[in-house]
Amino acid sequence: MSTNTLSENNRKVTVSRSDKTFAGVSHVLLVIWSLLVVGPLLWTLMTSFKTTREITASSTALPSALLTDPETGSFSLSYLFTNYISAWTSDNFGRYFFNTFIVVTSAMLLVMLLGAMCAYVLARYQFKGSQLIYYLMLAGLTFPIFLAIVPLYQVLKSLPLPWAPNGVFLGTFEGLILTYVAFALPFTVFFLYAFFRTLPNEIAEAAQVDGAGHWTTFFRIMLPMAKPGLASIGIFNFLGLWNQLLLPLALNTKEEQYVLAQGVFNFANKAKYEVNFGSLFAAVIITIVPVLIVYMIFQRQLQGSVSQGTMK
């Protein structure tokens, strides 16, 4: 369907009074909302440049201690990133960052491939039990994750992985990735199922008439056609997995293998200990910024594909 849909571009047209009022009210509403969104984020950013002492002293005061040379008392930029340096190095967030990147990227790519395959079969092949499988997948969306943790642990412990130190999936990135894939699968299938159903039949049929097999049809024709859908589910999975907390908390217990959300959680929960709020805020920024960047780069794609996907 490529009818003329609403567009965001503005052409010069004479504007009526009621339009002006409506636009004015709309802008006020949107500005307030934007401030509500951006305000806390900017505050977090600002706070990450304050010392723990400054943070607990006042929430609204601007950073100053890290902008001052402690020896001369004059303005200096060389200490500005103290919190970031300590979060990145001594609090290990640098390492967590790379761990997260590896685990999330691999899991995302894998779940997109497997999810697309599964959704494609369910959406476009009719066979006994296909509805059952679909609903089984949907049911997975409603399960509380931590209920599965102990049995999951035992499953991972009994699944052999020859090259791992213990010979099993447990305690390895592979194990965590596979678990991420399994838990991201329902939503991915759910999303792509609807997407594959909307794709026109004609091209696939033409290809099959030309003698293309099932494999070829999928990889050569259907998958490329599903690109927009894959892009948005890819972004959703990236965000969702980047933010995953409960699974790593229980399954990924080696400190050197921590992921970011887990690192922040544990850092914030250190009881009976000097809590370095400065580093905590820096760690929060370190965790948020990559996902924000990914979102900014792909937001157009996300917007486009969501709208394409909803056209039925």
Partner: protein, 472 residues
Amino acid sequence: MTYSLHRRGFLKGALAAGALIPLAACAGGGDDPKATPAGSEPAGGETTTQADPNNPFGLKVPSDVDAAIFNGGYGIAYAEFAGAMVEKQHDGVKVKVSKIQDATTELQPRFAGGDPPDVIDNAGKGKIGLAAILDQLEDLNDVIDSNNYEGDPIRDTLYAGVLEPGTIDDKLAVINYVLTVFGLWYSASLFEENGWEPPKTWDDAIALGAKAKEKGKYLFLWGNEASDYYMELAITSAIKEGGDEVRLALDNLEEGCWSKPALQAVFGKMEEIVKAGYVKPGGGGTQFTAAQAAWSQAQEALLYPSGAWIENEMKSQTKEDFKMTGTPVPTVTASPSKPFEAIHSAADEPYIVPSQGKNVAGGKEFMRAMLSKEAATNFAKEILSPTIVKDTVPEDGFGSTALVSQIGMLGAAGDNVFTWKFNAFYGMGNDTVVLWNSFLDGKLSTAELTSKLQEVTDAIRNDDAIEKFKAS
């Protein structure tokens, strides 16, 4: 099943006396180490004989020891220090010290899966409830009966009574490593400046509250997760007032235990303080370290009830020249059952060795190193807190006013040191925290607090699924 916890005069006088005064290491008896050979066959590796005092548990060489240490207030460096001592002692043994943050979440699957670590520091908010794992733990009496790395029998180097809380039916299931002193903490410099005295009775405290108000300050403040520090304060004060029967009633989950006159008197005084507006409002909505900073940095309140870890916890958020000092908690009357100097002190930081561990001997060897004087002194010096090992703190307290006052409080208390464990043992933390938040917020009266605490106690007593211990 009922477990009985023997309490043969926990923390006897020796503790107080011995805290500063070096005792001649009493190198008398000391049984031969009841060495238990580690679980299975020596698989190729060299095994030293059982009788070897340098290897009392038959630690296999080479082997790996998996130590899971709570990464909280004390960090894990002190455990790595002990791990290095084991490695030095037994060439070829590798001790892997890993951090845990929430013991239950992180280790529960490992227990269920049959591969727990060899030794665990089961501390922190997420510690594993003892009742749930008791039958899966090694008896650590053989560790205590062995010699430390300096060659002295470990049993002789410990403060008296420190093993009692971890002893259940003669089995030493837990070694609590750190000695914690509880009290009211204040800024000695602020008090001196204003000519204030730390309160000895609750009436003193109320009078001090009025003086604080004049200065635009509060007497107390609290934070959400730590509201039950005020329960610790109340129970300590009530035990001082009413004697051990209060403690026993609570520990044994007696009917009507919260209605004991001593507890009621303390609750009443605390309610008076809340009603008078001497408690900083809003604690229920404040993250606890943020609340504590309002005491240690902004000095919005005068007193804070806590364990001695507070100094370390607030290190970077304490006003310069604060001079953090501890004092025993106030009593109701001027002539209580136990003297004002009586304190709540407990060995904490519970170490356990699971029987299912791959290297049980390694876990025990790790504990032997931890209990050696070298490791214990290192702990006291780095953490500024005493361990259960005697004679590790010099007179200047390594420069810490809080450590000096802990030792002072222990010394003044003499025999009058006590502790209890019902809330920790039964995992009542969350329920009591919610109630104390409401009470400190003025939302619950003494009568309501009492009946709701009693409901919590009664629910546990009446739940047959929960095993009980018996205090005496």
